[in-house]
């Protein structure tokens, strides 16, 4: 059937039979919250829908609800995610399995409602699992899998499913949906966690931790997020075997004999595949590496996908202003640095504030990489803006 991407995300949350939704409308996320509030108002979904007065309140309500053992969903983006920032590490550090859809929107300034990854990148150190969806189908599937992963006893962490604003929220796409029975088979009703808030069994959360214990608390959290990659892989595999749509941590396209890999996350992968096909027709040995899981950072999968490459071009829809370039570029380069035979890693900033990413942009980037490899050209600090008028 055809369905709007945002509606697909809302339908996935409904099929997951969430107990509590707390959200605040913000473009381009609004259709997710609207659709869910309609489900609740129509009696199609038996959930508590909390109209919060801000995103700070929305995530606070989510944290409270999740701490009691409820299955919780929220959605936001851009400034909304920024307003949630203070609470994001608390949701994760308290190990609450909240699922959020973040419809990637450019952070202000300037006021821009369109999509880029600057919002979720600013939240990358908050300790959430982060997925990037390319289209409606992947968004739908990832939201359902996110609940299962978040709630796994070995994980117990919140999951942020990122989908690019407008391109992966307002567009109507073909979608294979699951019925309630199928989802329930994969995602059983939520178990209440051992230390859930309960007046009969009082527990203290987030109490003061002196310098003599904060390090151990951080390490426990980091271990949990790092180790979740095994569970993510396992759940992706099970979902594939049940429903026939196979997902992996990293997906490669025409990488078999490639010398150059174009690496990116999310919506623009579709465009990049066309660019790879075009370049292949010209005889270029190039492929695409799609990162589906950004947190936990997939070190081993990335190293395996980068083997035998001469260069990787990393495409960021965000910039660490005054920093290493795009955040994804910085992380990929850092992750590959200790390999014995490491490829040259170059960064490209594009798609900022919703600027359309075209096939030609990838092709241009590819030839930039080639001219760096041949020694014809040097890119200062190894990264550049692709679509800028200077």
């Amino acid at each position: 059937m055809g369905m709007e991407c945002a509606a697909a995300a809302a339908l996935a949350a409904k099929l997951a039979m969430v107990d509590v939704i707390a959200a605040y409308p913000i473009t381009p996320q609004t259709h997710i919250a609207e659709t869910l509030s309609e489900y609740v108002a129509n009696g199609e979904l038996d959930a508590e829908y909390i109209n919060a007065e801000s995103e700070h309140s929305a995530i606070s309500a989510c944290i409270g609800a999740a701490a009691t053992g409820a299955r919780v969903f929220t959605a936001t983006c851009g400034q909304g995610l920024a307003l949630m920032h203070e609470l994001l590490p608390i949701a994760a550090g308290w190990r609450l399995p909240i699922v959020m859809v973040n419809t990637n929107r450019s952070l202000s300034p300037n006021l821009n409602i369109w999509g880029d990854q600057s919002d979720s990148m600013a939240s990358r150190d908050c300790g959430w699992i982060q997925f990037f969806a390319e289209n409606a189908q992947e968004l739908f599937d990832l939201v359902i899998m996110a609940f299962r992963i978040a709630e796994d006893e070995r994980v117990q962490l919140p999951v942020m499913v990122n989908a690019k604003g407008f391109y992966c929220t307002h567009v109507i796409e073909p979608l294979i949906i699951l019925d309630q029975e199928e989802v329930e088979k994969f995602l059983p009703p939520k178990k209440i966690q051992k230390y859930a808030l309960n007046p009969n069994n009082p527990t203290t959360w987030g109490c003061v931790a002196f310098p003599d214990v904060q390090t151990e608390i951080r390490k426990q959290w980091d271990d949990a997020l790092r180790n979740s990659i095994k569970v993510i892989r396992e759940v992706f595999k099970e979902y594939g075997s049940l429903f026939g749509r196979n997902y992996d941590i990293i997906e490669t396209y025409r990488m078999e004999d490639a010398e150059v890999g174009l690496l990116l996350m999310g919506y623009a992968c579709g465009t990049c595949r066309v660019a790879v096909d075009t370049l292949r027709e010209e005889g270029e040995k190039v492929g695409m590496i799609k990162l589906r899981v950004f947190r936990p950072f997939p070190f081993d999968d990335l190293a395996a996908a980068s083997k035998n490459l001469k260069a990787i071009g990393v495409f960021d829809e965000a910039i660490s202003v005054g920093g290493v370039g795009g955040p994804l570029f910085g992380e990929v380069r850092s992750a590959l640095y200790s390999l014995e035979r490491r490829p040259k890693v170059l960064g490209f900033i594009q798609g900022i504030g919703g600027r359309d990413i075209k096939v030609d942009d990838f092709i241009r980037a590819y030839y930039e990489i080639k001219s760096v490899l041949s020694g014809e050209k040097r890119i200062e600090n190894d990264f550049m803006f692709l679509q800028v008028r200077e």
Partner: protein, 100 residues
């Protein structure tokens, strides 16, 4: 009573998930006395047992001992000096940690 305890330092694997405290009223296991820099010493000969130190102690670090006198529970005393300030017969002196 003046035997001094240090708070146990949990390893990562010993912490409950998210460092949640599953047992209510467990602050007695956290020995706050280990970051004190001065400690009160009560002169039992001068002490009249008036209990003002016990009343004023902002923690519960003053304890009643045999003979109607008072002593300090150093596991929780943070060395604030209020007891010494309030003692009407100047029976309490603050001594720097590390000195006798």
């Amino acid at each position: 009573m003046n035997e001094f305890k240090r708070t146990p330092k949990p390893r990562v694997s010993e912490l409950p998930i998210a460092a949640i405290i599953p047992e209510p009223g467990n602050s007695k296991y956290y020995f706050t006395g280990d970051w004190r820099s001065v400690r009160p010493v009560i002169n039992k000969d001068k002490c009249t047992g008036c209990s003002l130190c016990w009343v004023y102690c902002p923690d519960t670090a003053i304890i009643k001992v045999e003979g109607g006198k008072y002593d300090v529970d150093l596991n929780y005393c943070k060395g604030c000096g209020i007891c010494a300030e309030e003692c009407p017969v100047k029976a309490i002196t603050m001594v720097e940690e590390g000195e006798d």
